[in-house]
């Protein structure tokens, strides 16, 4: 699984340091809430709602350049829509990687 990185954000920012700082700040605010919402839905076994949360998290996963994580999230979202959650553990690992990375920013 590839590691989270700032390649996409830095490409987009170019010399605009303010944009980069602002986006990171927003990610630091949004990500913990989205992760918590995902875990709450997962624990309540509401698969469709959990799929929605995974979908929302896909945006952050892609922003942090995690291509393999994004593919996993895509498959997991579809799996949830079919009523299964076999990929939960692997997805939780992606979220943990992101948590550590975002904290380090």
């Amino acid at each position: 699984m590839n590691q989270p990185n700032l390649n996409y954000i830095e490409d987009l920012a170019g010399d605009d340091i303010l944009f980069k700082k602002k986006l990171i700040l927003i990610i630091k605010e949004e990500f913990p809430l989205e992760k918590k919402a995902y875990l709450t839905s997962y624990q309540s076994s509401n698969h469709l709602e959990t799929a929605e949360m995974v979908h929302k998290l896909k945006n952050k996963i892609s922003m942090l350049g995690m291509e393999a994580g994004y593919e996993l999230a895509q498959d997991y979202e579809e799996e949830l829509k079919q009523g299964s959650h076999m990929r939960h553990q692997a997805f939780a690992e992606v979220l943990e990687q992101m948590t550590h990375f975002i904290k380090s920013l």
């Binding site: 987009l12 605009d16 602002k22 927003i26």
Partner: protein, 236 residues
């Protein structure tokens, strides 16, 4: 080109704003985290382009596209690759961008938009068709033709081979179908809210998520008809 951004995630809106930054003739005049707020805005103001997320709480991007009464071109922005075919069924949708969006891909989309707008200058739609219908309808009751004023009709309900036409004072049972009567009713007053119901839009007292109240009658609203209902509301 005047643009708005509609996405419930602040981070996603900021990325679109950054992608727009520095593109000549592209002005972001407003951004919205809620589709409903954007619809209210669009009821008051015309824009050229809407950057729209497909997945928003309680309202999909496709609901939004069907709801707005605006000649704007729409660029869908999403993490969902699977809706692309559906997207191109809508004439208003100019492009379908999958996150993460590169500056290069975004620039291509804007160029395509500029070309489209140059070819077809936007003409705002009018809610009314411009056709002024008569004010009444004759229904056949026991071999007598009874005249009903459109304004007296509250709603019509399908019931097998019959329809119930409800007015303030009476309920008329008529041998007809909902489709036939719908063709006779003016679009600016009547609206189908459900496969079995047409309502007189001007008689609504109250609206909830899945129903409207007309006098003491609760009329269901189906998911597919809800966007049109919301489009017609004079939302504050």
């Amino acid at each position: 080109m005047n643009c708005i951004i509609v996405d419930d995630q602040e981070s996603a809106r900021l990325v679109v704003r950054q992608l727009c930054d520095g593109i000549e003739d592209l002005d972001i005049i407003e951004e919205f985290s809620s589709a409903i707020e954007a619809i209210k805005f669009l009821n008051q103001q015309t824009v050229d382009v809407i950057f729209l997320d497909i997945h928003m709480p309680g309202f999909t991007g496709f609901d939004f596209v069907q709801t707005i009464n605006n000649a704007a071109k729409i660029v869908l922005i999403t993490s969902d690759k699977s809706k692309a075919i559906e997207a191109y069924e809508y004439e208003a949708i100019s492009d379908y961008l999958v996150k993460p969006i590169s500056q290069e891909r975004f620039n291509k989309s804007i160029q395509k938009l500029k070309n489209t707008l140059r070819r077809s200058p936007s003409i705002p739609h009018d809610i009314l068709s411009g056709q002024l219908p008569g004010n009444d309808l004759y229904i056949n009751i026991d071999r007598r033709l009874t005249k009903l004023k459109f304004d007296d009709i509250l709603f019509i309900k399908a019931k097998g081979d019959y329809i119930d036409v409800k007015t303030h004072k009476e309920m008329y049972v008529v041998h007809s179908t909902l489709k036939k009567i719908k063709d006779k009713l003016p679009d600016n007053i009547f609206l189908q809210t459900h496969r079995s119901y047409i309502i007189n839009f001007t008689k609504i007292i109250d609206i909830e998520d899945n129903s409207v109240l007309i006098e003491k009658n609760v009329i269901p609203i189906s998911r597919s008809n809800r966007p049109e209902l919301i489009r017609r509301l004079n939302l504050l």
